[in-house]
Symmetry: D2
């Protein structure tokens, strides 16, 4: 599993499985001098905790973070930051049966095939609990970004057929992510909350699950004064396109900002598609429509639209970065399914246990955190793009 490391300078290594002692992450390359305490991280972990609303699994997980290293007198020292979250409510008897067969849509089969062996107490490393390490590290990255004037906020964009417009009706002054924390499904638009909860509950009653989409936006703080933009297709936005997001983030050609974001997002369990800006819609658009024309606002070069989702040539163009991640339905369903047991014999199964019927609401914070880690790491590399930068630093 030689793939638990992410990032080149701000580098994280996550560890832990659903029914082990603990989960966690080590962050290496975190700059020194950041004020950091457990509560900064706990806030993010609490957002991913189950049992928070009617629509998520009623399992209780304390998920208390401990900072084991890298912080002294309330500040990061530059040394690796080790964060640990103990497992406290992992009742493996709920899962015992799964040792016997391969659950459809789960990684049981592929883990057995690859490692010759699997932790059958639960999903092991392929469990959703794996994201705890990502969230803990992402909380640190997000705090740094905020100090640099960058805000990352994600929300539930759709649940099954119910699509939530990306524009917040209730309060124009809050960004989508802020709004998303106020309702059960982390929707941008709270007005749809009731409809969504009803839909999900029907789904649960049928023993089924449903797919969903998370949208994430990275923007400068405070939001700048770009030109008003047209709405409509995904990727267009009423947020000013000229928000003061730093230019130049992303390293062509393989570590383009969008390429690393795509890896980051697709590495989240159950993600099956990633879109940047207008995303899939571009494949049916004409160039004359899709090209974002440049304009000047307050003496700054800006764009009239933001179909590009904030990147041109893999480098941030100053507009908001916009991406969407499509999650498959939770594979654990109580409906009867055909499968095969470990001896290669066909069998029929019904998955028991307490599962989220839809992934997006709890994945919102995971998407934010992966975006934060990706952004910060590329922002660090970007500091060396010009000789002038080195000369200024070392003069």
């Amino acid at each position: 599993m030689a793939g638990s490391t992410f990032g080149n300078i701000f580098k994280i290594m996550t560890w832990g499985e659903s029914h082990g002692e603990a989960l966690g992450v080590v962050i290496d390359g975190c700059p020194a001098g950041l004020s950091l305490e457990a509560s900064d991280i706990q806030t993010y972990l609490d957002r991913r905790k189950p049992g928070q609303s009617a629509i998520t699994t009623p399992r209780k997980e304390a998920d208390k973070v401990e900072i084991l290293s890298g912080v002294f007198a309330g500040k990061t020292t530059g040394a690796p930051i080790s964060l640990m979250i103990k497992n406290t409510n992992q009742i493996s008897k709920d899962y015992d049966e799964i040792a016997a067969y391969y659950r459809p849509g789960h990684a049981d089969f592929t883990y057995d095939a690859k490692y010759g062996f699997r932790d059958y107490r639960g999903g092991g490393r392929s469990s959703g609990r794996e994201t705890i390490g990502r969230v803990a590290a992402g909380a640190v990255a997000a705090k740094i970004l905020l100090e640099l004037g960058i805000k990352i906020s994600a929300f539930t964009y759709s649940i099954g057929p119910v699509i939530c417009s990306a524009e917040p009706e209730v309060d124009e002054k809050v960004s989508p992510g802020d709004t998303s924390k106020r309702n059960d499904a982390h929707l941008c638009n709270s007005l749809l909350n009731e409809k969504v909860v009803k839909f999900i509950n029907e789904c649960k009653e049928k023993g089924d699950s449903v797919g969903s989409v998370v949208e994430c936006r990275v923007s400068g703080v405070p939001i700048g004064k770009g030109a008003p933009v047209k709405n409509g297709v995904p990727g267009e936005t009423s947020l000013p396109c000229g928000s003061p997001l730093p230019l130049g983030i992303g390293e062509p050609v393989f570590d383009k900002l969008d390429a690393k974001l795509a890896q980051a997002m697709m590495s989240i369990g159950a993600a099956k598609a990633v879109e940047i800006g207008a995303g899939c819609a571009v494949s049916e658009m004409y160039g004359s429509k899709n090209n974002d024309e440049f304009c000047v606002n307050d003496g700054k070069i800006s764009k009239l639209t933001n179909h590009s989702g904030g990147t041109l040539g893999g480098i941030s163009d100053g507009s908001d970065i916009i991406l969407r991640v499509h999650f498959k339905p939770t594979p654990s369903i109580s409906a009867t399914q055909q499968t095969v047991d470990r001896h290669g014999q066909p069998t029929a199964v019904q998955i028991k246990g307490r599962h989220d019927p839809v992934i997006a609401p709890r994945a919102v914070v995971v998407v934010e955190c992966m975006a934060a880690i990706t952004m910060l790491d590329l922002m660090m590399t970007n500091m060396t793009s010009k000789l002038e930068n080195l000369a200024n630093f070392y003069k």
Copy 2:
């Protein structure tokens, strides 16, 4: 631009820009003992060359590969393989004007912002010619994969509104990729060729361009005997899902097969979305529909459907790997557009020069090559997943 390296063991570093002396790639970590000659690579480069059909740019580019190192007596030696393709037809006068302003949809603005300076003779490193290094390296990876029984084939899935079914009507026995080489637009289904060519020509006449999608499939050779599967939504396939593709490819959690494929694909210029298997469609599906049930075929564990696109938990599950890449319309259009010049003054521009009106036909081979490099590299890492593997190797 500290991002020109891809892969962990089979590692490539590409170089070169549109109007420089040459372009190329160095491959490190290529196994010794592969028979390799220039023609193996030339075949792939010829597939990406412009001027091949009515629908691509009439520019002529010889794009002859030279093998400069790493091959002796017709075989790879284990030493780095340096491949160079000289630029021969780069008439920069076609592009001179672009120095003065930022072309909408291009990377001119972001390169200037990041590097303080840009190669205004053409797209420079952000040009489509950058893909030459990818294709040269991918040809080597694809040859190795073929020796290991793995075939990668891509085709044009859609051009604007014209969607080409993934199922080849003409000849059941050829795989989609083979068929794709026989018609102008590299469509899987040649019956649609006439329709597509007409659509593109209309687009060109209007001075416009259009978006497109490439689909890519990785399968075992010869194609295995899986159960017949249902058609319909993207990601389902009439190809047997139980083709003998190796199990276990992909390194959770950040270097999952689908995550690295997503990075690889999104790193191709103009890509704006990546889907694996059923892709975006999963977000509207129910779990009872999306889960691929397991079955037994010829004593092997297989799946009844392949919505997963060949990966479970980020690890290959033995079914065909299926992905789609959405490309935006070519940003170079002759219609008048608003933009800004280098002095920050608004201006109106019309892009001249010879450009492809649609990206997919020439991107087909680039997608194949990036898939090959990604697969091979992860297959190498996978060889160390079990202690038993090391013990067998070093006994």
Copy 3:
């Protein structure tokens, strides 16, 4: 401190500082299927613990390892292995004074300069306790190597002017490393123990410290039947040079076996020189003497001498790998020294506290562990050197 990761496939990230909550390491890429329990690791940690003999610091540190992830039912699962060792006896009052000035020979000054801030409770991340993570990870690597027939053993080669011959007098059948565990200073030759202990005690009484050398040998198990070799200069050895160590380990040109070993060893605190095989002695030798002639033993190609220290062209040649690491004297001495305080004022200091007067005895196990990690990681990469290897694996 973006340098806490080591290894490409068997990849470790260490964390923790002298006076934090805990120290540890995460190992990613450890093969699945290894029997592993805490005692396997504890054995190695106990060897580095202080307070074990008359010549090391009397500080007591429990240094109990906890396995937090990656092991299930007594076997590694392929998931990251998180190992934690809690700090229990870190009395920072011993060190309070050091906040005020820069200790000569320590990293206080450079940490302050680099990070703008330092953990003044002790050495922080530059403390010798940092090696705990290395030892914990190295114990796992060493266990794997032993299963593959490879044994790593180090010993104290010299302490100040007292040089311990590399040849064990007492018992011909034990390898140097085994012998080393039987006496206070981890000398290869126990007959010198009394002399060494006396020398060190004199040193302590004077409030001084002294430099030392550790030698490490990597050999095949059981030791093979090479030709007898001549003794004398460092690097020659009476161990048969044809021990069945695997051939081919090391990746030219930058990740040669000797280059990665040199990095691994020089990264240990207080290391100031690394020698491979005959090492420094080669610079005064003639080619006719230094070249190791090849011979045939039991049908296997072997070498008559081993000045090369087991590598040719950066690749293991089947002979024992031999290296030596030179450690500076412990910088913490009670003699009065001139230094500068944090306000840039000259001051005179005497370092208090309980310190080892010599580094080698406790560094022996650290050297072994770094050698084990380096070897194992390169052995994994080596599995992909030939196409034939891939073909055998994936057939």
Copy 4:
């Protein structure tokens, strides 16, 4: 040979073998805005060329560099820089015989063992010509460092028993490296040139070769005003220890400055030992002698001596960085040696051809170049060590 990449941000990939078409390097991550032309690189390549003086091989190699990418209008663009040097005088008939047997001291045997196959026209990738790529890349790194006020200069420290004092007698104002370019053996002290040339010629007449040492110093420019220091043991220096070399370079714990320098140096063919500062001498020193006391000079913290060789805790301390590399004697000697042929039969051989009898004089520039690449890469990473640095950059 998955080890041809070095560096994390300023990343190079070298390629090419002794008898191939060409050799070269690709540099990724080179900052944009550096004035660069072929002559900047040619100067360095000319220093490593053979046939320059009585003591090196009379082989003629033109070694003309071509810049293939990454430079436009005389400046680096940020895109990868591809440098190629064609092979023009590689007469493989000189080497034909070596296909039949394994040359003692060469990598013939290990390459055959690892890759199942070797380029028997010459040393292939293990030839000294491999260093061409290192020198080409190092010339670029050295130019950047000079613009940042950092100078790297190496010289021949010893040849066999003849040791050249590190202090230049002739001209106090030139640094060791400058002096070294003025005599046949690149000695720091030209007064010893005659003695050394005589010694080497005697060696050649006997058909033998001899070992040697290169010393390298990295210093700030112009040389600062540190306190005078005591001479004598290696590592002490009459150069002011307080030269304005940047503080903070090096990433604990595995990518410490000295650890990466050790890897860089030991990766050069024929290197068998690396010393930093006082190096091996520390192992016989007392702490009271070895510790460098701190002092204040012109308001700056400095050291009274420089036994540490410019690093404390793996981080640059502002003093000159001093290292020494021990090279074995050239393995190609004309004396008769015992070896084994490819069929495992013993045989006696005499190596023909034109070879350098000693490695240091031509390795001087290689050592400088590897030091430059290592320094620059770590200086880039260091720019992100403090949050304050990011905040200043992105404000």
